[in-house]
Amino acid sequence: MSECTEHSGFRPRIAAFFCNWCTYGGADLAGVNRLKYPADFRVVRLPCTGRMNPEFVLHAFRQGVDGVWVSGCHPGDCHYIAGNMYARRRFTILKELLEYAGLDPGRLHFSWISSAEAEKFQRTAVDVIEAVRALGPVNAANVAAKTMVMELRKVI
């Protein structure tokens, strides 16, 4: 799976939070190797997933993204020893809370990708984007009821 498929129609907007040392490096390596994936996420580089604040995720949805992807080092490989270990518990609680309150499963993704895992980065990127794309545009005319992601968007 080294070529991405054509994506026509709805292009989701995804905010991606990557840790500098692992996933960002992995994304870089994927680029160097010309591995293709849809350009449907914008990256925010963090020193470590331990820097992730739950407010970042909410803020992204408020600003209008369709999905959020957070990725960092594998547990045990964190550049700061244990940042991702603390993050793991926060991610668990946050994902459970948001999906409990009604966030569509498929909008919030987490992964561990090391700086050497270029192909895994590409595969995960394609999976995440497809999962969010499959949910369709948030404000589509055929959406029956108001959804959480729709109403979290700050409309001025």
Partner: protein, 327 residues
Amino acid sequence: MKARAEKIREIAKRLLQEGKVDVVIGYARGASPMREQPFFARTPEEAGQLTWSSFCVGNTAKFLVQAAGAGERAGVVAQGCASRNVVGLIVEKQVARDKVVVIGVPCLGMVDSRKVEARIARSEGRRVESVAEEGEELVVRGRGFEKRLKRKELLRDNCFTCQHRNPVLADEMAAEPTAATGGGDIDTVAAPWEKLPAADRWASFRETFTDCIRCYACRDACPLCYCKTCFVDDAKPQWLGKTQDVTDVASFHLMRAFHCAGRCTDCGACESACPQGIKVRRLTSKIEKDIRSLYSYEAGMGLDAIPPMTTFRADDSDDFIKQGGAQ
């Protein structure tokens, strides 16, 4: 209840007389029916105003951070949940153990005044003017009526499923320990929206918080919320707006619930404080249920406990995190 009140007064008076504390934080007779108000007794005479009843619906641990800030040694009248919050504040280093004297009160549950009012036909112009406790009965009086109700049926929701009615930390006790739990099973009532299909959950969240007026009574009644600057007031960046937009109201409650993870004792002060009667616990109970099942932890059960969000285990669950693939 009367026996507890008398014992509390006696202990408080003694502590103040002996100079062991600068203030005893408890409850005094409230100004409205079915309400006792928090009270700071600073002299043995003032200790005479302390009381205890089924209407002590706040959380006295709330005031400990304030007392600590003023450099005071505080006595605190605390039942099971409040005593767990005292432990929590000590663990979080907001209060020093040697600056607190806990007057423990085994709790028989607190009455939800809204449930009492619902039993009185308010639409017929009948307003509750006074409620007296007589054993297990509540005598509700108003203009031209008197009604006897069973106390046990009118307890607050969280009191039915309380898991720790006896104080977990106490320097003095105002009564003999009582049955440990309220009888209900917290895990069957916690996180009610889990039973709903995913598509219906947001509607339930919306409906629950639709009357929120952003008064922050829930936050300000909560002993966990002691930040000098609440995230609500952050300006750079501003995480949420101050308007009544759904996104602003929802963001406040979601984030506040998250900040209570692994710390909340289900004391119900938030629901009791809310002027709109919002069932905040429908949201917060989810987090503590996860904390219990994932990390086998209950807040405030021991001074040596390590709060779950400040630690980790190598084998913490992470099935939802993508990490597989050919390696």
